[in-house]
């Protein structure tokens, strides 16, 4: 058991840290991460109207690209860095500690690995380089209004017509589609097969005729998600990854990424530290509720819980580093992290008493730019998306503990 780096790990960590310190554009220095609507992130910046933002996105992508660190986990033959899981972990840790934005979004994390495993040589040659050089950003079209937790019941239809599929239907929660160039999606190609066996995995240009992306404005007035409508959208059959009707299994490919979720833990710890420091500062005291002691205990609990989350992340990477595949442990991380996030947002908001009402980022009356009340709202979907807490607990109980399915 060891909570510290080996010498080799420590050397790699220094490299990453030096690189970030040297090459991270000013725009991202001291940034505390992407906003709920991707603001301040690479995806938004590369399509920004502000030339400085675009420049920063480009420079940072270029710098990472030099090291092969746009896609640290991809094999070197495909232009990745071929990092080990532990190296990826250290890389991700350092990126998160510095608040540096990752580059390549879902193209790097989802589509690329899927292509690498299931794609044809033509598909790989066409798409992988354009992900790595930042030319193409990808969005994911999985969920539908009627297929959320029960994703496999998706109904968006793709009908083969010669060399094309013709797609009709609707996707929802297509996050970042408004910054994306291409979309990968699961569609039903065989409505008569059992629900997991009639689905195909398609890639399509987001500007395809008949495809409409409509913003979903969330309860915090942000725009993280979209609805995507398909009206006779035509996609060449060559854009199907893997076999037709086998898309469910293509989409569920277990990627050889480190899956620790360490960046959550790091961001929670940083956020709590900033809050505590501000609370006891002169500027903070003017906002702090008179009966501060009530929050004190909660702040201590959140700190302990964050330590637990760190350990959950360390556990995952330890498992992966020893060549095994995490089972229920990843579900524990997701569930625990998202629920802790909500508790943290409540605790933080509570610290401000009546000031917890204030929403304006730029008001002198808003403590810490109203970050906490915004997080109180913004953390709501974290226990819902990417597998709700209910689904995670089901998975832990059945897949993890072997309890019989209900």
């Amino acid at each position: 058991m060891d909570w510290s780096d080996t010498t080799v790990q420590s050397t790699f960590r220094d490299d990453v840290r030096d690189f970030i310190m040297t090459r991270l554009p000013d725009r991202y220095q001291g940034d505390s991460g992407e906003g709920e609507d991707f603001s301040g992130g690479w995806q938004a910046d590369r399509k920004s109207e502000d030339a400085k933002a675009r420049g920063a996105a480009e420079n940072w992508a270029g710098a990472l690209s030099e090291k092969g660190w746009v896609a640290p986990a991809w094999p070197k033959e495909y232009g990745g860095a071929g990092l080990t899981v532990m190296e990826q972990f250290i890389f991700n840790q350092e990126m998160a500690e510095s608040g540096a934005p990752s580059v390549g979004g879902m193209g790097v994390s989802m589509l690329g690995p899927t292509l690498i495993v299931h794609g044809s040589e033509e598909q790989k040659a066409e798409h992988l380089p354009r992900i790595l050089n930042g030319e193409v950003a990808w969005a994911q079209g999985y969920s539908e209004p009627g297929a959320g937790s029960d994703l496999a019941s998706l109904q968006t239809r793709a009908v083969r017509d010669g060399d094309e599929y013709v797609i009709n239907g609707q996707k929802i929660w297509t996050s970042g589609a408004h910054f994306a160039d291409w979309l990968f999606t699961l569609v039903r190609t065989n409505p008569d097969a059992p629900k997991h066996r009639g689905i195909s995995f398609l890639m399509l240009d987001i500007t395809s005729p008949g495809l409409t992306v409509r913003p979903i404005i969330d309860m915090g007035w942000n725009h993280p998600f979209n609805e995507t409508f398909f009206e006779d959208v035509k996609v060449p059959v060559t854009n199907c990854i893997g076999e037709e009707d086998r898309g469910w299994y293509v989409g569920m490919t277990l990627l050889d990424f480190e899956r620790s979720g360490i960046s959550d833990a790091i961001s929670y710890r940083r956020g709590q530290k900033e809050l505590r420091e501000f609370l006891v500062s002169g500027a903070g005291k003017q906002f702090t509720r008179q009966d501060f002691s009530v929050v004190r205990k909660e702040l201590a609990d959140r700190a302990v819980e964050t330590e637990v989350l760190f350990n959950f992340a360390f556990r995952i990477v330890s498992i992966q580093d020893s060549g095994m595949v995490p089972n229920y442990e990843a579900s524990v991380n997701k569930m625990y992290s998202s629920e802790l996030h909500q508790r943290m947002a409540r605790t933080s908001t509570k610290a401000w008493g009546l000031y917890g009402n204030l929403w304006a980022e730029d008001s002198a009356y808003s403590p810490m730019n109203a970050a906490h009340v915004r997080d109180y709202v913004g953390s709501v979907p974290h226990t819902i998306f990417s597998g709700s807490s209910e689904i995670q607990r089901n998975v832990i109980a059945t897949r993890g503990l072997g309890l019989p399915r209900g």
Partner: protein, 371 residues
């Protein structure tokens, strides 16, 4: 012992529900979020025609003369419909303040206007210290006879931007004093703040603002006590209606939304959340009514104070649990601006914080328990 509504209360409740379903639908609530005034003068007038602004005000001053329990029945419906606007500000902050502290002349001067809706009042209690106790009152008052001159900043003043008058708590050489000031004077500078609930809470900067004394100079804090108690319970009533509706929306959704071939409401995880929600909502309702009853029937001071603190301690937390479950049951759709349930989630926070959250009131309970 009877926890049911009286016939008159049932009538009031049913009339209010029907009226508000028609006149204050979801779209109206949304419109007012973006509206500069934050309320519709037309609806305001219609509510006055219903007699609501004057519900608590005696008939001799143009009101209906119902009691405080009745008012809470009405406010439950307000919470259910998320009625935007200065109703509580004017009725609790203005009307109740004047009824509790005003001279006969002041009652005659202001209450009819409040009852008719022609005047809008608000209570300027808190300041940048955001405290609810007497020491939180630092705004300077200079009292000369019946005239008061005020200097200082009041904060989180609801609806001050549309109020004709403010009841201001300030500190004079004699202690805390209340006064009534008109907002249309140079010395009153009102700036609305952006809030999570998109309601209108304002900064009010007073710069030699002048007004008239309300109650005796130095007696302000004693006079405030029953006003704050009623306002606090009124916020609880609003929370009860709000959380009841959030709960109903969530249960309806759980019955309709199908995943894995069955309504999600058939899953125990959802069922048990709903069971906890109804427990929290019902618990909120009765502890609120107990406090309202205690006020309305003039129970002994210590019992009323305890009942009020307990009500706000419970309702603040329990309704927060309800709206959090409401969001979780809805899944993704509940997080969208376009779906109604988030309106309840955001507004719960305002009322949770108003006049102190659960921790604040729990501390007062502990003190009264001799701990």
């Amino acid at each position: 012992m009877d926890l049911g509504l009286s016939e008159q209360q049932e009538l009031l409740k049913n009339a209010a529900r029907e009226f508000l379903e028609n006149e204050c639908p979801e779209q109206h609530v949304r419109d007012m979020e973006e509206d500069e005034k934050g309320y519709s003068p037309e609806l305001w007038g219609q509510m006055a025609e219903q007699g609501w602004q004057g519900l608590l005000i005696p008939e001799e001053h143009g009101g209906v003369g119902f009691d405080f329990l009745d008012m809470c029945v009405l406010l439950e419906e307000f919470g259910r419909a998320l009625v935007p606007g200065p109703f509580m500000s004017s009725v609790l902050g203005g009307g109740v303040s004047i009824m509790e502290a005003g001279s006969d002349a002041q009652k005659s001067e202001f209450l009819p206007g409040i009852a008719s809706g022609d005047l809008i009042f608000s209570l300027a209690l808190t300041e940048p210290s955001a405290r609810f106790d007497e020491s939180g009152i630092e705004c300077e008052a200079t009292v000369s006879g019946n005239d008061v001159t005020l200097n200082g900043t009041k904060l989180f003043v609801s609806d001050a931007h549309v109020a004709d008058y403010l009841v201001v708590a300030a500190r004079s050489s004699a202690g805390v004093c209340l006064s009534i000031i008109a907002t249309d004077q140079d010395g009153v500078n009102v700036t609305p703040l952006q809030t999570i609930a998109r309601d209108k809470q304002c900064e009010v900067v007073l710069n030699n603002a002048s007004g008239q004394l309300l109650g005796a100079d130095g007696a302000g804090w004693d006079l405030l006590k029953p006003i704050i108690q009623k306002y606090t319970v009124a916020e609880c009533a609003y929370l009860v209606g709000l959380s009841q509706m959030d709960f109903e929306i969530a249960v309806d959704y759980a019955k309709e939304r199908v995943q894995f071939g069955r309504p999600i409401g058939s899953f125990q995880a959802i069922q048990h959340k709903c069971a906890d929600m109804v427990t929290d909502v019902d618990g909120s309702r009765f502890i609120m009514y107990k406090a309202a009853w205690s006020i309305a029937t003039d129970q002994p001071d210590d019992e009323t104070t305890m009942a009020v603190n307990m009500a706000k301690a419970w309702c603040s937390e329990a309704t927060r649990r309800v709206v959090a479950h409401g969001q979780q049951i809805h899944g993704g759709i509940g997080f969208t601006k376009d779906y109604k349930v988030q309106l309840y989630f955001r507004r719960q926070k305002r009322a949770e914080l108003a006049f102190g959250d659960a921790d604040y009131h729990r501390e007062l309970v502990a003190q009264q328990l001799g701990l």
